[in-house]
């Protein structure tokens, strides 16, 4: 069976700055991957590169074995990669229903529809006819996730899942995300380490654009994660002769 998503030596730049440096990753179908790392580690750039918003300077992205590296973002959505971006980026003057409808009518056909998405994220039902600009942080995140989901992706990326949300809202969101497990390959960027460890089936840590750590959360020690987070290469550090 081919991987759901394969990144080969992927690099990306912001002008002179190299934000992502040679990331390689193979992700099996239905895996739940959490990406952690300090601010500026390149997590958001990596998400934007996978979804097609940011061009890859080097490397390749395969979706179910097929190259998508040269596809623009809208074509990648149709191929099955959806991103709920940093800052949510809802269309503030349009209603929640319209926000979802755009992704539904331009995305892939499949099991997810307005009705099933509202089942997965029950708080949406009451909001459908409200303008998206007036929602609370938790509601906005729910709409952003629903907007990604309704395009029937095979790989779904969620950037900064719980950033700026109240603990209660985060709790609600994760309960909803739990229902997606096994339906879609999930990649989520999460600052809350405990939350990430509890939810994911695999954890990677980025530091200074590089992939520092990769493994199932149960096998990783706190110390390993902390070192990776701050980019400390204990094992590789050559001792002074």
């Amino acid at each position: 069976m081919t991987d759901a998503l394969t990144l080969t030596n992927l690099s990306g730049r912001h002008g002179q700055l190299q934000a992502v440096k040679g990331v390689s990753l193979r992700l099996a179908a239905k895996e739940v991957l959490a990406v952690i790392g300090a601010n500026g580690a390149g997590k958001t750039t990596l998400m934007r590169m996978i979804s097609g918003l940011h061009p890859a300077a080097e490397g390749e992205i395969l979706l179910h074995g097929a190259p998508v590296t040269s596809l623009p973002a809208h074509a990648r959505l149709k191929a099955g990669i959806a991103l709920s971006p940093e800052g949510r980026r809802l269309f503030g003057d349009m209603t929640v229903a319209e926000n979802l409808q755009i992704a539904a009518e331009n995305g892939r056909k499949g099991d997810w529809s307005m009705a099933t998405v509202c089942d997965a994220l029950p708080q949406l039902t009451a909001l459908l006819h409200r303008p998206a600009g007036g929602l609370s942080g938790g509601q906005r995140q729910a709409v952003a996730i629903a907007r990604a989901l309704i395009s029937n992706p095979s790989v779904m990326l969620l950037d900064e899942v719980s950033l700026g949300l109240s603990p209660a809202a985060v709790e609600g969101l994760y309960q909803s995300l739990e229902t997606l497990r096994g339906h879609v390959t999930l990649i989520l960027v999460e600052q809350d380490l405990t939350r990430a460890m509890a939810f994911c089936s695999r954890l990677i840590c980025m530091a200074e654009g590089k992939l520092e750590l990769d493994g199932p959360p149960a096998t990783l020690t706190r110390q390993q994660i902390t070192d990776a987070y701050f980019g400390i290469h204990k094992a590789k550090e050559p001792s002074h002769a």
């Binding site: 973002a73 980026r89 269309f91 907007r147």
Partner: protein
């Protein structure tokens, strides 16, 4: 007085069509097309050429012109405006000013400087009128134009609010990158918007050619009128554009009672007054006013939480 008021209102339909294309362009494409008026003139002169040189009927000439203008808008966006947009805010202004100069003088070289009118080709319509109670005569042509304008703007409004393309267009105008994350190709949508905008300019040009005279150099003044209607009407909801067009028409029409010179001056002064008033409101000054034009095209009464 009442006569002028009615004429002004009817004139407003023409201004609204002229303005709608402009506001669509800077709403969706974030592009200020300073050659918009010249494109309107191109539409007018093309229709005239089809009628006078090829002997086509007026309705057929109008249809061909509008289709041709839409195609031109698509091509302009594809080959000129997209490239210009990549160069910040200065390049679009420079490009479209150059485009305006090229169009004006090119049309002058091709069509000559004579003022032209479609009036001679629409038979009795150009002078026929209805008598209203109270002894007021209302020209049939202005009424038909106003009705057409309202229908066209209404259809555009329905397209924006009820169709997939309209939703994609509004999404693109609000956040092009987020729209692409929803599977919308922003460039395709922007090309579509440019096609509609230039076709609307062409329609306005045809209106002008029917009710008055057109010269190759009428464009800059049409551009100014379009801007005035957009600004007076508020942050360009299509309804606002219609209202702005009507206010401009009425102001000019009442000004003309005093003197022909005052007519246009009155429009300028109302525009500057509205602009000044809006600038004095902090929100508009801070958020760049017109750039929100299209957002407000879809401005619904229940969405008024935001200050545009």
């Amino acid at each position: 007085m009442l006569d002028s008021l009615i004429q002004g209102i009817l004139l407003g339909g023409y201004y609204a069509v002229l303005a709608a294309g402009l506001s669509l362009m800077f709403g969706v494409v974030r592009f200020i097309n300073l050659a918009h008026g010249d494109m309107a003139v191109l539409g007018a002169l093309s229709a005239l050429w089809l009628v006078q040189s090829l002997g086509l009927g007026v309705p057929l000439a109008i249809v061909i012109t509008l289709l041709g203008m839409a195609a031109l808008g698509w091509l302009m966006q594809r080959f000129i405006f997209e490239r210009a947009l990549a160069g910040g805010f200065l390049v679009p202004i420079l490009t479209t000013i150059g485009l305006g100069a090229a169009l004006q003088n090119g049309m002058f070289a091709v069509f000559g400087s004579n003022t032209k009118s479609l009036g001679a080709h629409i038979g009795s319509l150009s002078w026929a009128s209805w008598q209203l109670p109270g002894g007021i005569y209302v020209g049939q042509l202005p009424v038909y134009m106003f009705v057409t304008a309202v229908l066209v703007l209404g259809a555009l409004h329905l397209t924006l609010t009820r169709t997939a393309f309209g939703r994609a267009l509004r999404a693109t105008s609000s956040d092009a990158e987020a729209a692409s994350l929803c599977g919308v190709d922003p460039r395709r949508v922007q090309r579509g918007a440019a096609a509609i905008a230039v076709a609307l300019a062409g329609l306005a040009g045809i209106f002008l050619a029917m009710r008055a005279q057109v010269t190759p150099f009428s464009g800059p003044m049409m551009l100014i009128f379009a801007f005035e209607a957009v600004v007076i009407g508020g942050i360009g909801s299509l309804r606002g554009t219609l209202i702005g067009g009507i206010i401009l028409g009425v102001v000019q029409s009442l000004g003309a009672l005093l003197s022909p010179q005052i007519s246009i001056l009155a429009g300028h002064l109302v525009f500057l007054a509205v602009l000044g008033w809006r600038l004095s409101q902090l929100a508009a000054a801070e958020r760049g006013g017109w750039r929100l034009a299209l957002r407000a095209l879809t401005h619904k009464p229940d969405v008024t939480g935001r200050k545009a």
